[in-house]
Every structure is written in C-alpha cells, then in structure tokens.
C-alpha cells in the first residue's frame, strides 16, 4: 500500500508535467491541442536518437528539446492560431485542425523512426534503486519526479512572478479585457502555447523510461490521459493540474495493486466521476463558461 502510494505520487508528478502544457494552452487559447501527446512522442524519439547517436544524457536532451520545441511552438502559433481565431467557430475548427496535425506528426514519425518500439535500456540515472520511506524505487522515477516538480515550480514562477506571467493570467481570465487594457494577446498566447509544447517535449525525454518505450502512435493515448488529468484538476487552471496528476497517479497505482484489470479504464472513470460530481474540476473557480 505504501509502495503504491509513493509510486502514485512519483508517477502522478510525471503526468502532471505532461498535462501542465496542455492546460496552459487551453487556459490561454481556449483550444484543446489534440496534438499535445505527439509532442511528448517527439521529445521521446529525440532523446532516444540523441542517446544512440551521441550518447547524450537524456537530461541534456530534455533541456535541448524543450528549447527547440518552444521555438517551433512560436512559429506554429503564428501559422495556425490567428487563422483559427478568425473563423466563425474557432473551438471546433481547432479540434479538427489539431487532430489533423496529430495524424501528420504520427505519419512523419512512422516514416522517420519506423513502427518499432524504441527506448534506452542503459542505466543512465544510476543502477541502484532509490529508497523513499524504506521502499525501493527505480532511480529514474525519482529523477522524473524532481524534474516534474522543477518544471511546475518554473511555470508557477512564470505565472505569478513575471510581468509576462501577469499578462498571461489576465488573458486566461478574459481575452477581451486583456486586449482592451493594452496587453498583446497574441504575443502572450504564442509564448504560452510554445511553453505548453516545450513542456510536452521535456516530458517526452523521460518517456522512454516512464512509459516503457516510444512508438509513433503514443500521442493519442497520452493526450486522452493528459486531458483527464487536467479536467480532474480543472480546465484552464495550471495549478490544478498538479492535483489532477497526483490523483491520477495514486489511483492508477492502487488500481494496479488491487484491480489491475480495470487500470486502463481509469482516465475515463475519473473523467466521468468529475463531470458527474464536480464538473468544474477540483480547482474549478476559473472554469470556462462557454
């Protein structure tokens, strides 16, 4: 029981990292990026490729791929989002467009990397397990938990301690009012969108260790789980994502211990439960009204 709880916290932090970027994007753009999981997959393949080609440590890959995908995110935002925003039904169009983007990324990944699972088996984070409260855990889980905490802290500092972060929160509260008060909504949104993708790619660099390997079709499933995590915490509230991730992680590990057959249903069960009991999510003050 204690092992499952601690494992759930560590695994939950990792899922919070995956969901954080998706929630930040939704909070600012009011659009669900259905290609979010595919950027996790890109980060995973980048880490595997960099390790096999140059023996680059996955933590370096994590930083590099996050920066690179951040830059890609800025460009992608200006290519896609203003056009979607100008349409009659931007939310629906964005769903279709990001789904299409997801399919394109998956197809390109198949062409580049093939269909086989790829992973890193060498013990790059240490051979010995790490003991927490007397329970041994794989070192990579602990590293992943720490990286996730660091990323969550940086996003918190960005949102609550920087000027651009204040503007981001203003846009999250009301795009129209933020625009009227002189905030460059597109600039703020582009940065938030790019941070979201960068975080996804950073999580991806740890995916070969946390998710048993990388395959091109990983994206869709991850997007669904990340979506469940952020709905649990509250759509549009990045801080709630941490709680959502932790609940998901602990529930998953308890399920694997006591009812393993049901564990694949967990994201959907949690989604149903939240929608029935507290549709606004656990931290649901800032839920969208539309």
């Amino acid at each position: 029981m204690l092992y499952a709880l601690i494992a759930g916290v560590l695994f939950g932090l990792y899922y919070a990292l995956i969901g954080l970027g998706l929630n930040l994007t939704f909070g600012v753009l009011r659009m669900v990026n259905l290609a979010h999981g595919d950027f996790v997959m890109i980060g995973g393949f980048a880490a595997v490729t960099a390790f096999s080609a140059w023996h680059l440590h996955p933590l370096w890959s994590l930083v590099l791929v996050a920066v690179l995908i951040f830059a890609v995110g800025i460009a992608l935002y200006y290519v896609l989002v203003p056009r979607i925003a100008a349409t009659k039904d931007p939310e629906m169009i964005s769903l279709v467009l990001f789904f299409g983007l997801s399919q394109v990324i998956e197809a390109l990944a198949v062409m580049r990397f093939g269909n086989n699972t790829q992973s890193i088996y060498e013990p790059v984070f240490g051979k010995a397990p790490v003991s927490i409260l007397g329970q041994p855990f794989p070192a990579v889980w602990v590293v992943s938990g720490l990286v996730s905490l660091l990323a969550l802290l940086l996003v918190y500092l960005y949102l609550y301690r920087t000027r651009i972060g204040y503007s981001t929160r203003a846009v999250m509260a009301s795009r129209e009012e933020a625009e009227v008060s002189g905030i460059s909504v597109h600039k703020v949104s582009a940065i938030a969108f790019a941070i979201g993708l960068g975080l996804a790619a950073a999580a991806g660099a740890l995916a070969p260790f946390m998710l048993g390997g990388i395959t091109p079709d990983l994206g869709v499933g991850l997007t669904i789980t990340a979506f469940a995590v952020i709905v649990l915490g509250s759509l549009g509230n990045p801080v709630g994502t941490v709680a959502g991730g932790l609940i998901y992680g602990i529930a998953l590990m308890l399920m694997q211990t006591y009812l393993p057959s049901w564990s694949a249903l967990l994201p959907y069960l949690l989604l149903l439960l939240v929608l029935l009991v507290k549709p606004s999510g656990l931290f649901g003050r800032q839920v969208r009204s539309a």
Binding site: V110, N115, Q118, Y121, P138, W141, G212
Partner: protein, 412 residues
C-alpha cells in the same frame, strides 16, 4: 393440323429453352475456366501497436508470392495448371474496427479467392466471424486465440503457430519438473495471453501448484513497476509475464530498473522478435531468461519436405529484403506454403473444398510439422522451452525442454 402446328410450336419452344439451357451450361463452363490469377486478400498494420509484428508477417507472405510467381505461379489442381498469385492488401492501422470494414471489403468488393488474416489474435478476432458469415476460409498465420476454433466453424485454418492454449504445454511440464512451488503469472488481457494463462493454471493446479500471483492487466499496460513490486512480495520461484512485444519490453525494462531479480523469468517475445527485445532491454536483462524459441532460433533444416529449409530461407530472404528474417517473416512465408499446398490438392476453388484440402495437409516445413485438427487449429508446431544464455560477447538460445529436442541445459 392446327393441333399439329401447336405441337410443333411447343417442341420449338422446348428446343429453344434447351438451347438456352445449353447456353447457360456453356457459360458455366466459361466461368470454370482458369482465372487469370489467384487473388489473396490480406490486411496489415502499417502503423500502431501491431505494426512491429504485422509488417514482417506481410513481408514473409510477399516473399512466398515472389518465389511462386518467379516459377510461373502456384499449381492449382482444379485447373491442372500453374496460375500467378496476386495480392490485395489494405492497411488496418492496428485498429480492429478498421480491420472489420476492410475484411468485408476484401470478400464482398475485391472478391478475393483466398483470405488471410492480419497478425495476432486481436486483429484476427474480427476476421473470424466475418469469414464464417461469408463462408470464406480464413488462413490465419498467427491469430492463436483458442476461442476462434470451434466445431461450428469450418472456415478457419491456423497456419503459423499452434493455438495459444497449446503453447504452454511444455512450459507447464518444465515448471513442474523443476519442482517450483511458488509461481507468479501476470498476463495481458487478450485471447492470446489469457488462453495461455488458463492452460498454465489448469496444468499447474493438476500438478499440485496453485500460482501465488495470477493477475491480468490491460494489453495497453506500459508500466509494471508496482506489479513487479507486488509479485516480489510473494517470493516466487518462477515469474511468467505473458504479453505482446510492448508488454515484454516494458516489463523487462521496469524489472531491470527496479533492482529486483527473479530466479526463473519467462517472457514470450524474445523467442520471436529477439533483435527488437535486445535493442530495447539490452543483452544483460535478457541473459538467463526463458522463452518459447521459434524459428529461426529453432532451426529446422533436416526433415523439411515442403518449401525451403530454415538456412535456405534465411539466405534467400536476406538477399531479397536486405535484412535477416525473424519468426514473423517465417510465419508469413509458412502461410504461403499452406495456401500453396491447399491449392495443389483441392479439387475446386470452392471454399469448402479448400478447407477440406487444408485439413488433409501433412507436411514438414521450416516452421515444423503442419497438422491441423477438425476445428482448424494447428496442432503440429509445438513450442519447446528455451533459455537465453551468454555466449562469448553475445547471446544464444538453448532449448532446455523437452529433452527430445533439447540442445543444452539450463543455467541458474
């Protein structure tokens, strides 16, 4: 006179009908003339979780086609001549729903002569009822789920492997022979793995051993850490993980990272996709683990009386495709051989005649002894137990059970 004229008109009418009847007889004869080619319809997973296994299986089938077409085609007894073989294949993207539509399309739109299912039990499970409904024999290379083979379904032939319920026969015997009392089993919840679990638990219980851990997990499981921890808590003598390649990779990776070690560890796919597993979990993790060795690890060179031997196939396949074959390439090729033998002996191309001919096949191929039972299940190709052992700087697979085919002894 009037009556005679009416009579004559009546005769003329009957004659006209007879001529028309002759015409129809002629058209029947025309339709039974040899077709331009024999069409084989199949699906493959070009992407998704089964692509790793499905694409080599398709490559093996294509290799067989290229071999027979190079020789002028496959001999069809019904027409007493060789006819070229043509493939109609669609990508189901590992999605059973897509596969369902495409199997129907192969039968109703493309009207293929021979239907071959995609890799594995998940993508074959949707083909079984469709083939039965359309009274079309399903040549099934690797869909080994025991539930596919029933006395009421005469439209299935398993070509590449025994039914999964038969797979663990030798494994269960070996575990009992080793006197293991505490056996832990974790299996993925699909026909393929579940039926193996059922066989194992039944045979172990008959031998006085009740598994100390026996849990199913979703086939999509990608993290086994907590499960490994729970298994370790039962102090098992032997641990069996039954899954698909991605399950095996995740399990072995998590086990290596966890620092746990089990004295006897069995997984399925190192015996079929050795290179893939080695690339993803490393030689060290695989060393001393157990598996079902399949060709080419199980090398059938002597006694082969139909098609190439394993050495001939390996050489020819490598020169044609640029890479060494794995078991699934062999399963695809072996399916081709089964189709070839069926066409060589069937008295017509009707589906029931094809099925009857397949039922009478007795041949020894590079995949072993080919014998199916009344329900279409493969019974000949039994799977021994093998251990992956260190050999110089690499690894080798040693067959350790049964003793009749053993090539070495287990290292503990």
């Amino acid at each position: 006179m009037k009556q005679l004229r009416r009579y004559l008109f009546g005769l003329a009418g009957v004659a006209a009908l007879l001529i028309a009847g002759c015409g129809s007889t002629t058209s029947t004869t025309t339709s039974s003339t040899a077709p331009k080619d024999i069409t084989i319809g199949t699906l493959y997973a070009g992407s998704g979780s089964y692509a790793t296994s499905s694409l080599p299986e398709l490559a093996g089938l294509k290799f067989w086609m290229s071999q027979v077409n190079k020789d002028g085609g496959v001999f069809v007894k019904a027409y007493n001549k060789k006819i070229p073989v043509k493939l109609v294949d669609y990508n189901d993207q590992s999605d059973p729903n897509t596969a369902q539509t495409l199997y129907t399309q192969l039968i109703t739109q493309d009207k293929v002569n021979i239907l071959v299912s995609d890799f594995g039990s998940v993508l074959t499970s949707v083909a079984v009822p469709i083939a039965q409904e359309h009274k079309m024999v399903l040549f099934d290379p690797t869909g080994t789920g025991a539930s596919f083979f029933t006395p009421t379904n005469p439209y299935i032939v398993l070509t590449g492997l025994p039914t999964s319920a038969v797979w663990p026969d030798n494994l269960a015997k070996y575990l009992l022979a080793q006197n293991f009392k505490k056996v832990a089993i974790v299996y993925a919840e699909n026909d393929f793995d579940q039926s193996q679990d059922e066989t194992l638990t039944t045979q172990l219980k008959a031998g006085g051993v009740t598994p100390v851990y026996n849990q199913g997990v979703p086939t999509t499981t990608s993290n086994y850490d907590v499960i490994i921890h729970n298994i370790a808590a039962t102090n098992p003598d032997a641990v069996l993980e039954l899954g698909y390649p991605n399950n095996d990779i995740a399990f072995l990776q998590n086990l290596a990272a966890s620092g746990q070690h089990f004295g006897f560890l069995f997984t399925i796919f190192p015996g079929q996709l050795f290179s893939l597993l080695e690339q993803n979990v490393g030689a060290k993790t695989l060393t001393d683990t157990y598996t079902y060795p399949t060709p080419p690890l199980l090398a059938y060179n002597s006694g082969v009386n139909y098609g190439m031997t394993i050495s001939q196939f390996t050489q020819a396949f490598q020169s044609a495709n640029g890479s060494a074959p794995n078991f699934l390439d062999i399963a695809g090729y072996n399916t081709g051989l089964a189709i070839q033998k069926t066409l060589e002996t069937a008295k017509s191309l009707s589906q029931l005649d094809l099925r009857a001919a397949a039922g009478k096949i007795h041949m020894f191929t590079l995949d072993g002894d080919f014998t199916i039972n009344k329900e279409g299940a493969q019974m000949g190709e039994t799977l021994p137990v093998g251990q992956i052992q260190a050999s110089g700087s690499g690894l080798k697979t040693v067959i350790v059970f049964p003793s009749s085919v053993a090539t070495g002894t287990a290292v503990h």
